[in-house]
Amino acid sequence: MPTLPETETMTALTDITAVREDSRTLADQMPELGDHRSEAATRFEALGLPTRKNEAWRYTNLRPLKTEPAKDSAQDPGLPVELVPGSIRLVFVDGHYAEDRSRIGTLPDGVRISRLGNYLAANPARARDLFMGDDGVALLNSALLRDGAVISVANNTSLARPVEIVHVTTSARRTGCHLRHRIELGERAEATVIERWVGTPSAWANTVTEARVPEAATLTHLRIAGDGAAGTITSAARVSVGAEATYRATSFMIGGTSVRIDSLVNVLGEGGEAHVDGLSLAGDGQTHDAVTVVRHQVPEARSEQVYRAVGDGRAVTSFQGKVIVDKDAQKIEADQSFKAIILDRKATANAKPELEILADDVVCSHGATIGELDANALFYLTSRGISPEDARAILIEAFAGAVLTRIENDDVREQAAAAISTWMSGHVDGASHA
């Protein structure tokens, strides 16, 4: 497998000629993907990038991708502090694997971490299982993906060190960095994968992560667009959950101009569990969009979704969550809870909590609320001598706490709490919503 040439970063965004050209340039890199790329490029040509008329992209802001960026200089944002000390680190800079910045160390028996190119060279048949995509964003990823990480954990193996995949963008031009990760757990295996983004405002980081969580395995999956994140970030996870298996996902959206985190979770085995949570803290000019589809295909399974969003300035926070219960998937328990707080007159919050139920013996519910901080609670706190700023901070912290308390790893939870405090110090000054 030859290493990728350090050429100019991809420029193709929406222009189909450029997409075709780039996908041909890439053809030599991962020859196993030849058909996959060309078919995806053809389908992309027909569909183009989704617009607000596409129901699933109703609230997502992809307009920055279609405009010229402001003059900006290329810069390397550097790497964020690792979330859990001692993690395995895989760093991708502008879509290229950066070996010098990554750290793998000694892996336990049964655990393999490789680049997608090497993985496909060794297992060419697997190229056919790669998800092609059903919208322009995923199709573009299929047509133009350059690399990615493949994490395999054998049966009965537990990978104690979390794997942190860091996506770095450095370009000052409108560039798309398309990566494809795969997480393949064996039965009763356990792993934690953390995806993070840092970068420049003009870049577009577009990743698709495919994960298999078979019988009795547990995958903890965190996706974090923290305060170092910038530009447009689209991340789609496609996860299958087997019998007695658990998928535990949490997404944090704090940075980025336009961030969209997609989770498609198929519960395929009885006793399977999916917990798909998220927290968005959006400031002026930011768009955060969480889209989940949890599909129950078999009986006796459970899913929970807990999302919280706080919007300040001209922020737009959105949640489109869907629970599908297939015919004959009886005895399903599925809950969905979305709450948004709007701190500023100019902010917008959207919610579309959707249920699609085709079996009768199920208990499914969803609740959604949108509003401002409770005036009575604020009054109560201030009457106790707490300053209005602190009172707001306390209430927002408690509000976000609904997501934090569901995180099992202490390091992650503490860092998340710290990130929330930092965000609040910049947004809970009381000036914008007096």
Binding site: I342, P353, E354, E356
Partner: protein, 489 residues
């Protein structure tokens, strides 16, 4: 629980048939099948309409030809051939009857059979001591009778078919027609603008409380005929009106199209209460036949403190596509939506509401109860939108779905879009089936399975049913029972 006994009796006596499914043999005057400018000119000529009305229709038709049929609803049906239908069918009679005595007795008998007596001394649904209800009876494409007109006129209330209103009150009609649902609002509303044949016009003057319930009873009778009616209700400052709407159709193997438009305008302090019991023919148990019901209903709360309340019980139609909505433009205005939608066999319903909050402190309540049985699909689709300038908006939404079979589907698609921080929006939804505990308890009290289901379903719908006028509540409860017949065991 009052009415449950009736419902059970009805279930027993109905023996599997749609009781309004008879076909009446009435001499009809039709315009040939098809849809084109000439047909529209012919409809307009039949109705002897002024030039402006024809222009309006033709513009709508030109617009309609440029539009695409919407496909976003969770509905599946074969493509509709808009050319293969009659757009005008009216019972033959020399002229519009001047009084009820001149109405074809055969027509009166049909309405009698439907439980809608048109003789003024009688009251709806045979309920003893009930209030008077004025009825506008629309038969296929035309209004055949309007009762209590004189008595209403004394109160200053205008209650007549919209065709008459176009002649008698052209300024009023022109001012409000299309003001709430614009011509190009959607595909089906636009089609209606081009081909609507009749409907009801109601005008309540300032400060008048309408002395009786008003109602329109829609009947599709002729085969291969679409019904396109328009209802326009204007409530001036401080007035009040309660309006009821009922509909039935014969059992036919074909699918008939019904595309109506209802526009409500409530001025300052006015209140409009609009209740519907929709019982179009739902098709047989194999999904053959039934009405395609594509309806646009929208109310504008124009003035401060105005109120519009929609209550609907949807039991009929093979396809229901219907979203009665409120544009809450006035400060402190109130919108309400109470809905029960029951689907059985192969019925599909995609229904809900939109509450568009523009006025300060406007409030809305949405209570939706969906019941799916057989192989049916029942979808709640709704939007609550808060505009940036709307301070202190309050919304409460509750959508509950009850699944009565393991082959049916219940779906909830709510949209919430808030652009003002002072809004307080709450949405709750649940999907469940009738619990075994509930059934066991009811059975232990000596109810059989069907009675127990009818009782539990009625309890599930109570929050909505209590908003129906009494005469309708009784009928609606019976209908619930009939609609679910054969869905258990």
């Amino acid at each position: 629980m009052a009415g449950t006994k009736d419902a059970i009796d009805q279930v027993e006596e109905a023996t599997g048939s749609y009781k309004h499914g008879f076909i009446s043999d009435i001499d009809m005057d039709r315009i040939e099948k098809g849809l084109n400018e000439d047909i529209i000119r012919a409809i307009s000529a039949k109705k002897n309409e002024p030039e402006w009305m024809l222009d309006w229709r033709l513009k709508a038709f030109a617009q309609w030809q440029k539009m695409d049929e919407p496909d976003w609803a969770k509905l599946q049906y074969p493509p509709i051939d808009y050319q293969d239908a009659y757009y005008y069918a009216a019972p033959k009679s020399a002229d519009k009857p001047k009084s009820l005595d001149e109405v074809d007795p055969e027509l009166l008998r049909i309405y009698e059979k439907l439980g809608i007596p048109l003789e003024e001394q009688k009251v709806l649904a045979g309920v003893e001591g009930a209030k008077k209800v004025a009825v506008d009876a629309v038969f296929d494409s035309v209004s055949v009778a309007t009762t209590f007109r004189e008595e209403l006129k004394k109160a200053g209330v205008i209650f007549m078919s919209i065709s008459e209103a176009i002649h008698d009150y052209p300024d009023l009609v022109r001012q409000y027609l299309g003001s709430v649902v614009p011509v190009r609002d959607n595909y089906f509303a636009c089609l209606n603008c081009a081909v609507f044949t009749d409907g009801t016009f109601v005008y309540i003057p300032k400060g008048v409380r309408c002395p009786m319930e008003l109602s329109t009873y829609f009947r599709i009778n002729a085969e291969s005929t679409g019904q396109f009616e328009r209802t326009l209700i204007v409530a001036e400052e401080g007035s009040y009106v309660s309006y009821l709407e009922g509909c039935t159709a014969p059992m036919r193997d074909e699918n008939q199209l019904h595309a109506a438009v209802v526009e409500l305008v409530a001025m300052q302090d006015a209140e409009i209460k609009y209740s519907t019991v929709q019982n179009w023919y739902p098709g047989d148990k194999d999904g053959k036949g039934g009405i395609y019901n594509f309806v646009t209903k929208r109310g504008l709360c124009k003035g401060a403190r105005s109120k519009i309340s929609w209550t609907q019980v949807e039991t009929g139609s093979a396809i229901t596509w219907k979203y009665p909505s409120c544009v809450l433009a006035g400060d402190d205005s109130v919108g309400e939506f109470y809905s029960v939608a029951v689907t059985n066999n192969y019925q599909q319903a995609d229904t809900g509401t939109k509450m568009i909050h523009q006025g300060k402190r406007s409030r809305s309540t949405i209570i939706s109860k969906g019941i799916s049985a057989g192989k049916s699909h029942n979808t709640y689709r709704g939007l609550v939108k808060v505009a940036p300038g709307a301070e202190g908006v309050r919304n409460y939404t509750q959508c509950d779905s009850l699944l009565v079979s393991d082959t049916s589907g219940a779906h909830t698609v709510p949209y919430i879009e808030v652009q003002n921080p002072s809004a307080q929006i709450e949405h709750e939804a649940t999907t469940s089936k009738i619990s075994e505990d509930q059934m066991f308890y009811a059975r232990a009290r000596g109810l059989d399975e069907e009675e127990a289901v009818a009782m539990i379903v009625n309890g599930f719908c109570k929050d909505v049913m209590q908003h129906l006028p009494m005469e309708f509540a009784v009928e609606a409860q019976k209908l619930l029972g009939i609609s679910l017949e054969g869905s258990v065991g």
